[in-house]
Amino acid sequence: MSEPYEPVIVGFLCNWCSYRAADLAGTARIKYAPNMRAIRVMCSGRVDPQFVLKALREGADGVMIAGCHPGECHYVDGNIKTLRRFTLLKQLLRQWGVEDERVQLVWASASEGNLLAAAVDRMTEQLRPLGPLRWKETVLGRNGHGEFIPVEEVPAVEEV
């Protein structure tokens, strides 16, 4: 019997809106997929693209960035910057071979617990058929060379 694959989603949730939405989902006892591990940031604009890449490299199967709806950002336009960076990041990720579904941007205000929960559910189900990303193991491979090199293939240093 093998366990069904459970995607691991790292979520960056902004303090003022989406994290509160997640809190609300909790207090309202909304059932939703437990696959997202939430990290609270003050603003979605705090999300450096390096965080996303690092998460993917270190074992995440997907990354969710969640922020306030445009126009409602506590810092006025932090989330606009998020949208700009996210748009370009998606183009970049395609070139890296990372499937579109693995990095998603969600707007959820503090009162939208249902919306956030539904987004997590949806993303989990979108990731399941893609399988685990396991970047280090499958892409970087042993020794980071991207494939296993049998010892006999590499010639021993010859006595010359």
């Binding site: 390096q50 690092k54 445009p70 950002c73 070139q95 071979g97 980071g144 090199i149």
Partner: protein
């Protein structure tokens, strides 16, 4: 008479530009010759791998290692030279972070071999011959190194003491570093802390660049031949991609002064792990689309349009730093480029 300190300069998967740039220190090369004895420098002297293998560990005082780790021979030489050297310097962008050869990390070993040996129009190879690690010929056996799937930086195979960034490092910077080294070896002068990036600045290229800089709000990206840039004005502001904001200074901002955008060859600034991601963040942030109060859907659509005028983000933002990037190589299937 005390023995002179030993110098080595070795090239792995390199182009030779680092050697040329070193020789472009002009007459100062005679000073280097005066101070050091060569221990291994395949470009210009006749020491062999056998000699290096015979040296006691740490015999070489300074090893300037340039070139990326592309194949098994490069990796073996990195290990050997690390063992035999007191200080190993990752010299130039290839050894520091992969440089141009590491663009190969967006494709695969298989795709590379097929294109180079099968598919190109001038190839005459009906038997589909590929270079082999071992080949039996009538007279005996011949060997070649193994071509890896992923290009690595030097510090991904051996510990590195210092890094000199640049493709190539500028001669003035090379001399500045050599002066410090010579002073340390001859007069006991100070050396920077281990792991330092030397021969470069601590701020972004923008600080060195004389072009006028204003608040940026890019509404479209242009290819360099799409327009004649206004002289004296920041290229990025005019929509021409320039990696200046995410690149370490030290080169004197040469490329923008030649009216061509920086491509980031001096590597990232302190505190940055992934130069490409930082550049992406910087450039996307100043796209002048979207403001609080605008319709979400409209904004997203406009942004998509603008961002698609920025072609090949992976190859541009990671032009020199792919091996040191967080993802390091692309996930590929077969011949996907």
């Amino acid at each position: 008479m005390a023995e002179k300190p030993k110098l080595a300069m070795y090239w792995a998967a390199a182009c030779g530009g680092c050697e040329i740039s070193t020789l472009n220190i002009g007459e100062k090369i005679l000073v280097v010759d005066d101070v050091f004895d060569l221990a291994f420098f395949p470009c210009i002297a006749d020491f062999k791998v056998k000699d290096v293998q015979g040296y006691p560990d740490g015999y070489i005082d300074v090893c300037l290692f340039n070139g990326a780790i592309r194949n098994s021979e490069n990796e073996e030489m990195a290990h050997l030279l690390r063992q035999k050297s007191k200080f190993v310097v990752a010299f130039g962008s290839c050894a520091y972070e992969g440089c141009i050869p590491a663009l190969s990390n967006l494709t695969s070993r298989q795709a590379t071999l097929e294109t180079v040996y099968f598919d190109n129009p001038s190839i005459d190879n009906p038997e589909m011959t590929l270079p082999q690690v071992k080949t039996r010929v009538a007279e005996g056996e011949l060997t070649l190194p193994y071509f890896y799937q992923t290009v690595k930086a030097l510090d991904q195979v051996v510990p590195v003491d210092y890094y000199i960034p640049g493709c190539p490092p500028e001669p003035e910077q090379i001399w500045a570093v050599l002066e410090v080294v010579v002073n340390a070896l001859l007069n006991g002068g100070p050396l920077p802390p281990g792991g330092s990036i030397v021969g470069a600045g601590k701020v972004a290229v923008c600080e060195e660049c004389p072009l006028e800089k204003n608040v940026k709000a890019i509404d479209q990206f242009y290819r360099p031949y799409d327009l004649i840039p206004q002289p004296g004005l920041c290229l990025l502001e005019q929509g021409i991609v320039c990696m200046g904001p995410a690149t370490r200074s030290g080169c004197g901002a040469l490329c923008p002064q030649a009216n061509m955008g920086c491509r980031g060859c001096y590597g990232p600034l302190d505190g940055v792990e992934d130069q490409g991601a930082k550049m992406l963040s910087a450039i996307a942030s100043v796209v002048g689309v979207g403001a609080a109060g605008e319709d979400e859907g409209e904004m997203a659509k406009k942004l998509d349009e603008v961002m698609s005028t920025l072609v090949d983000p992976a190859g541009t933002f990671y032009r020199f730093s792919m091996a040191h990037s967080l993802l390091q190589r692309a996930k590929v299937n077969g011949k996907q480029a």
